[in-house]
């Protein structure tokens, strides 16, 4: 095969591999278990993985800049705990949600300032933030989970419109401005540029530091929104929520073909990546494989996705 043909094949593959993956996983899974390919189960998969998709969209902004945000799980926990607390205290649902998602920008602002202005490695800054935020969530919720009985909130998490889960609609509504943000705005292109080469971006007039802070704030804000949806789906707020979300988000982003060194990837692929992960988790569940087994599989998926991306991009550079 000529190298030109090979290149075209590679390009084709990198454009459509996620669809191929989804179809392949779906076909294989349908053979493995009869109840996989039923409307009910698929709606369930897509409904329950909205949280992963949302968190991944948020973290994608940070990963684009070459950073990482390990505090998304705790922010999800804090957001859901606050929501349950506010509702118990008798605040109206819309006001609680509004206050919480705005407040959830704060942890991201702090991480962003630590990374951008104090020059702390993103891993360490957000790791430290993650224990602080989870600590606050535990203290606020006094260690226990609170039941949510507010109808509106429950509807956000588990309602259906014409058979489509409401969380999925929320994801769609949230996705559109994000897509515009990443693809059509100046700041979106600047994020790509920063991840590609921060110094070059800085020299061509990008306000790198401000954008870094905004990226972390966006990630944290999105995690806050996720916390609301999750609280609605699980009908409670608890400080233990969001455990391992950073891992799922990283997995989705890597499956979606984004490079962890920043500057590449597409937000729509990140969402598709989250659903590929969701489909795989679902068939493992149906087959009765324990969550421990799934931990192993998730780790292997991340490794193989990263390696796959490496081999695909290796020839591109050379």
């Amino acid at each position: 095969m000529t190298s030109e043909k090979l290149d075209r094949l590679k390009k084709l593959w990198s454009n459509y591999y996620l669809l191929i993956l989804i179809i392949a996983v779906t076909i294989i899974s349908s053979f493995l278990h009869p109840s996989f390919f039923t409307g009910n189960n698929l709606a369930n998969v897509f409904g329950s993985n909205v949280t992963t998709a949302l968190v991944s969209i948020g973290m994608f902004a940070v990963i684009l800049t070459g950073g990482i945000d390990l505090s998304v799980g705790p922010v999800v926990a804090l957001s859901s705990s606050l929501l349950a607390g506010f509702l118990t205290a008798g605040y109206p649902a819309w006001l609680s949600i509004l206050i919480i998602i705005i407040a959830m920008i704060i942890p991201g602002l702090i991480s962003g300032v630590l990374v951008a202005y104090a020059k702390i490695t993103p891993i360490m800054a957000t790791l430290a933030m993650s224990t602080i935020i989870r600590g606050i969530a535990y203290i606020y919720a006094t260690g226990s989970s609170r039941i949510i009985s507010n109808r509106a909130v429950l509807y956000l998490g588990s309602g259906k419109i014409l058979g489509i889960p409401v969380p999925l609609i929320i994801l769609l509504i949230y996705f559109i401005p994000c897509w515009i943000l990443f693809n059509k705005t100046k700041i979106g292109r600047e994020l790509y540029a920063m991840g590609g080469n921060e110094t070059a971006a800085f020299l061509s007039g990008v306000s790198v530091k401000r954008n870094l802070v905004l990226a972390y704030a966006f990630s944290s804000f999105t995690a806050g929104v996720t916390g609301i949806v999750l609280a609605g789906r699980l009908m409670m707020g608890a400080p233990i929520f969001g455990e391992g979300y950073e891992m799922d988000a990283i997995a989705s982003i890597v499956i979606g073909g984004a490079s962890l060194s920043g500057g590449s990837g597409l937000v729509r692929n990140v969402v598709l990546g989250a659903f590929v992960l969701g489909l795989i988790t679902n068939i493992l569940n149906l087959l009765g494989l324990s969550s421990y087994f799934q931990m192993v599989v998730k780790g292997l998926i991340i490794l193989s996705a990263v390696l796959g991306g490496y081999f695909l991009n290796k020839n591109k550079a050379g």
Partner: protein, 323 residues
Amino acid sequence: MESSIKKRNSLLSRLQKFPWSRHYLYILLIVLLVISSLVSPQFLSKSNIYDILLSNMTIIILAFGAFFVIVTAGIDLSVGSLVALSGCLLAGFIEKGTSWWLSIIMVLLIMLIPGMINGFFVAFGKVNAFIATLAMMSIARGLSYIYVSGSPKIIFDDNIIAITDIEFLDGWLPLPLLIVIILFLISMFVLKYTSYGRKLYAIGDDPESAYLNGIQVKRHVFSVYVINSFLAGVAGIILASRLMLGTPLVGQSYEMDAVASVIIGGGALHGGTGTIGGTLLGAIIFGILQNIFNLVGIGGYPQMILKGLIIIAALLFYRKKKN
């Protein structure tokens, strides 16, 4: 006028030349000891000091391993899970009737494998160290759950339990402490006096020029993950012996404590700096701080917040000054 400026400059330069980076850790340690003995009179008793040392044994050993990795500008997030895996394997082997010494040798040998996998991906697969070890963190924890099928295994073997009970020199030198001292001396010797150790610093400092100077960067990077995983295996055995059981639940967030110890001790995540002595002091300081929090009666959740704040403070203190 000029002379006064000169004098001030010389004072300033002398102040700047004073090797703070060598002494502030001791100063911090002494300040902490004074504060804590004021807070609680029992603090300076032999039993409390030994309690702090012994309960932080695992973290101290992990911090040594973390230092090897961090000095090459890497990171290993899987150690907490590896501690759990090592303990579970030990408990499992003992339960199957393997003799205690053979079990320990087998566990230590098996614990080289996760490090080899991490090292392979990081050094040869060019996978981000953070991601490779994050994946291993999930894999190793999952494997330890699967191996013990979810529930902890009690260790009945007297020899294993004795690891944390044997004391030399009339109780002044418990065996775990001896192990830590030996590991410390070996690590210090390797890092300071062997070309291998100096090459690790060179790689952390600038992998490109290390490579151009003929250092086999990949092999060296590979090796530090194996060392780290081996030390996590040792730590897991000591912890299992102290708890008298192997359980997949232990070691949660140990990676953070280990990295925090390295950072408090003056190591930097961008690699190439710090000493193993600093790491030891960092781990002890971190342990004393937690002990003080406990003595003062601060609960577990506020401690989480304080831990995070301490790490941020240490990072701010040492942050790399970029132009």
